[in-house]
């Protein structure tokens, strides 16, 4: 079809009768503005559709008008590619709507589609003409929607919208960046086209309006600053919501109502009439009272340097399948190590075989590294989202903040990204809301007016370190301590190290903020941070100097799938204790041991007393070492509640792939999971904190063997 001359277009109808309006719509979406041939083809296609029998008279008329639009462009009469595209797609969508309306009379409603009570998209014409805008909108799924296509649409749109969000933020600091405008424009355009093609009218209408706004920016009619920037971001958020609602419906959830959709639509249709301008936005766009705000400066040069367009080719793979692959590779590694350890390989005369096994070994190791890397995603995306958080918050709180991010090309496990995202949101909020002072205070202390928050990530000794550094007022040691005393968390008479005091900010309900704002001050945020980091098996350290700023350092393992553990033996059983939870291991001197009322055992280590819990008694294991002086004590637990677990011996350090036991045997106290050991047997991974808690809570933790574990079978 590409080579066909325009003169032969009339014949096309007879030759290609199968072309439908949907095909044309799909093609319109993929149209490349540079490629004139594409426009010609589309015009031909539309001619075919219009002359066919699939459309009623109204629709056919609309399609003909669209064809004329395209012809005018191709012949050079109308050089504005944008206008043509927008016009054409509007006409085609109208045509499609009117055809849908015609078909709907013939087709019975599919019962699986939840009916929308205040359905605005039912009417074949765009809602703009409506005299009374409704307050909400509901995305309506066409009855013949293909779930696979919809799922693909959701995934694709999400990616596009995320890209356009960072582009929009970049644009705000550098409004002249044409490439960013185009990125956003293309994203909106694609979402519009695909959603229109899938019959998601609300989404497509919204995307269309947002696209029109962007098109004005692209044509330099307006600049993406002030109210327009807010409006663009608001449309983006609404689109995200719309996409999310499609996704939740796919998962069987009820239809979500898009709050404020119609308000937004009215504003988008005519932004100027609604008071949007390049000036600072009025209260209409913000629910918070209008504060004397300043344009937050997000250093443009850094941004541009970071924004690298990625053209790496990729495919989408179901994560369950990927996880299975990684599991299987793990199995292969274990199977391979069993072969390597086979005693027959060491025999004389097996050199040839040994050489081959070594070769296979190398390949397997490489395969393992590769499979692990497959689940890793760059931190860059997460960091980019923080720009938005910082921007919104700086605006709300009337502070001037510069967020500098440096991801150092680090990658982390995909499963960790979501938790880390929540953690970072709260930490960035904390830094801006509590750390950075208001501009007037900063001026007094001779600091630059714009506060700086630095978000960096780098690798350090097998862990990923994420650092948030602000140049704000620093943590107020006295205030935190006073609050903690008031909350009854600490003993006012004891002395605490700086680090211990700073760590108190993670206690739930403790907030050093004097006033509760809608952003922070309820003492929840830092609790979320603590929990998140615990869930990630990470650690957080705080350093702070008054008046100069604070540094929060988060250390995370590269992946949750692999646990770095110490293999210990207790009687005939072996357990893995995560290395991160172990403070030290030692064999006690007999004189350092003592008992309380003849039962509770204590050990003295460097002047510190701690209780001894015997793992073999807790777990009911026989034939284990009874005398602590002959076994080993593993010191676990947090700062103030340390305890020593008695084990027989250490078998060495090992990296294991943690597997959940919950499905197999339910949640077992003190056990966080299982792992396949080098010999193929399952080893249990202990949760030292839970083991200690279990031992403490038992009324009689020194009962006879079998009481606490399973009675010997």
């Amino acid at each position: 079809m590409a080579g066909r001359k325009r003169t032969t277009r009339k014949k096309a109808a007879a030759e290609v009768p199968a072309v439908t309006l949907d095909d044309a719509l799909a093609m319109l979406v993929q149209l490349d503005p540079e490629n004139l041939d594409g426009f010609r083809q589309l015009a031909e296609m539309l001619q075919t559709v219009a002359s066919g029998t699939s459309l009623d008279a109204d629709a056919a008329e609309l399609v003909k008008t669209a064809t004329e639009q395209l012809d005018r462009f191709v012949s050079g009469e109308n050089p504005d590619v944008e206008e043509v595209l927008v016009e054409t797609s509007m006409l085609l969508e109208k045509a499609s709507d009117s055809r849908e309306a015609g078909l709907k009379n013939l087709r019975a409603e599919c019962p699986a589609v939840p009916p929308a009570p205040s359905e605005p998209a039912e009417s074949p014409l765009p809602k703009r003409a409506d005299p009374e805008p409704e307050k909400t909108a509901v995305e309506w799924l066409p009855s013949d929607a293909d779930p696979d296509l919809l799922a693909e649409f959701v995934a694709e749109s999400r990616e596009l919208l995320e890209k356009s969000e960072s582009a929009l933020l970049a644009l705000e600091s550098n409004p002249e960046d044409d490439e960013a405008v185009n990125t956003v424009f293309r994203a909106f355009h694609t979402v519009k086209g695909t959603s229109g093609f899938l019959g998601l009218k609300v989404t497509s209408e919204l995307a269309h309006l947002a696209e029109s706004l962007l098109s004005r920016i692209r044509n330099k009619e307006i600049r993406l600053v002030g109210g327009y920037a807010d409006l663009a971001l608001r449309s983006l958020d609404m689109l995200k919501k719309a996409v999310a609602s499609v996704e939740s419906v796919l998962h069987g959830a009820p239809m979500e109502v898009l709050q404020g959709y119609d308000d937004l639509k009215v504003i988008l249709t005519n932004p100027e009439a609604a008071g949007v301008s390049e000036e600072e936005s009025s209260g209409m766009l913000h629910s918070s009272p209008a504060v004397e705000t300043q344009e937050p400066k997000i250093s443009p040069e850094k941004q541009t340097a970071q924004r690298r367009t990625e053209f790496e080719s990729s495919i989408r793979v179901n994560t369950a399948r990927l996880d299975r692959l990684i599991d299987m590779v793990g199995e292969l590694v274990i199977a391979q190590s069993m072969v390597v350890q086979d005693s027959r390989l060491l025999d004389e005369g097996c050199h040839e075989l040994a050489r081959k096994v070594t070769h296979a070994n190398k390949i397997v190791r490489e395969l393992q590294d590769l499979s692990m890397s497959m689940r890793m995603v760059p931190l860059r995306g997460t960091f980019q989202k923080m720009q938005r958080v910082a921007r919104d918050l700086a605006r709300k709180s009337g502070k001037s903040v510069e967020l500098v991010t440096d991801d150092g090309e680090t990658e982390i496990d995909r499963h960790m990204v979501d938790i880390l995202n929540d953690v970072l949101v709260h930490m960035v909020r904390n830094a801006i809301d509590h750390g950075i002072e208001p501009p007037e205070d900063r001026a007094k202390s001779c600091k630059p007016e714009a506060g700086s928050v630095r978000l960096t990530a780098f690798h350090s000794g097998g862990t990923v370190v994420v650092e948030i550094r602000d140049d704000g007022r620093g943590l107020n040691r006295e205030k935190i301590f006073a609050k903690a005393v008031a909350a009854g968390i600490v003993d006012p008479d004891k002395s605490y190290s700086d680090n211990e005091v700073f760590n108190l900010i993670f206690a739930p309900g403790l907030s050093t903020s004097d006033k509760v704002t809608d952003v922070s001050g309820r003492g929840v945020g830092m609790d979320v941070v603590r929990r998140g980091i615990e869930a990630l098996h990470g650690r957080i350290d705080i350093t702070s100097s008054p008046g100069i700023g604070s540094v929060f350092t988060v250390r995370l393992p590269l992946t949750l799938a692999i646990t770095d553990g110490m293999l210990v033996r207790v009687g005939s059983e072996r357990y893995i204790i995560p290395t991160i939870g172990i403070h030290l291991c030692f064999r006690p001197e007999p004189e350092s041991l003592s008992t309380v009322s003849g039962k509770g055992e204590l050990v003295m280590l460097r002047g510190e007393m701690m209780p001894i819990f015997r793992l073999h008694r807790l777990f009911g294991i026989e034939s284990a070492i009874e005398d602590p002086a002959k076994g080993l004590l593993v010191v676990v637990g947090d700062e103030e509640r340390r305890c020593a677990l008695l084990v027989d011996e250490l078998l060495g350090q090992q990296q294991v792939v943690a597997k959940s036991l919950t499905k197999a045997v339910g949640k077992i106290q003190g056990v966080s999971g299982g792992a396949i050991l080098g010999d193929g047997q399952v080893g249990l991974i202990l949760d030292p904190g839970e083991v200690a808690a279990q031992a403490r809570h038992s009324t009689n933790p020194y009962g006879t063997s079998g009481q606490y574990g399973r009675p010997a079978a």
Partner: protein
Amino acid sequence: MTTPLAGAHAKPDDTVNVARGGKFLAFFLSDEEYGIEILRVQEIIGLLPITRVPYTQNYLKGVVNLRGKVIPVIDLRLKFGMPASERTSETCIVVVHLRGIEVGLIVDRVSEVVDIRDEDVEPAPSFGNAVDTEYIYGIGKSQGRVKILLDIEKVLPSMDMLQYEESATHSG
């Protein structure tokens, strides 16, 4: 012979077993012969080293590594209150599907796959309180011998019940 196997899970709990025939895997516990629907059975493996799990019922022998999956292993003898037996070369683990996971069952000896006709399956007899027949799907007759057909869903109603009741331990 082409009677479709009625999934034991498909019938309501309180109705009397409408016994259905089909293909069953027969195995021995002591000198009693049992049967499990063949469609439930994934594979039969030899005894593997079993890792014990603390705070669990005694009939849960522990967990094993089934090609990378960690699966629980139940000693059916202990589950049914029979004395534990010596492991022999015939002792094996029957891996069955149960609510989306695989579960290993230790049995003394696997004998055969039998075809039992509908009319040869009788509902579980009642022995009063002496014997719990809740998990018996029916009694099958085949070649003059009796096979106890198990409703595996009822043998292990939930994985949580594998845990040792903690309240009991605290009173010690």
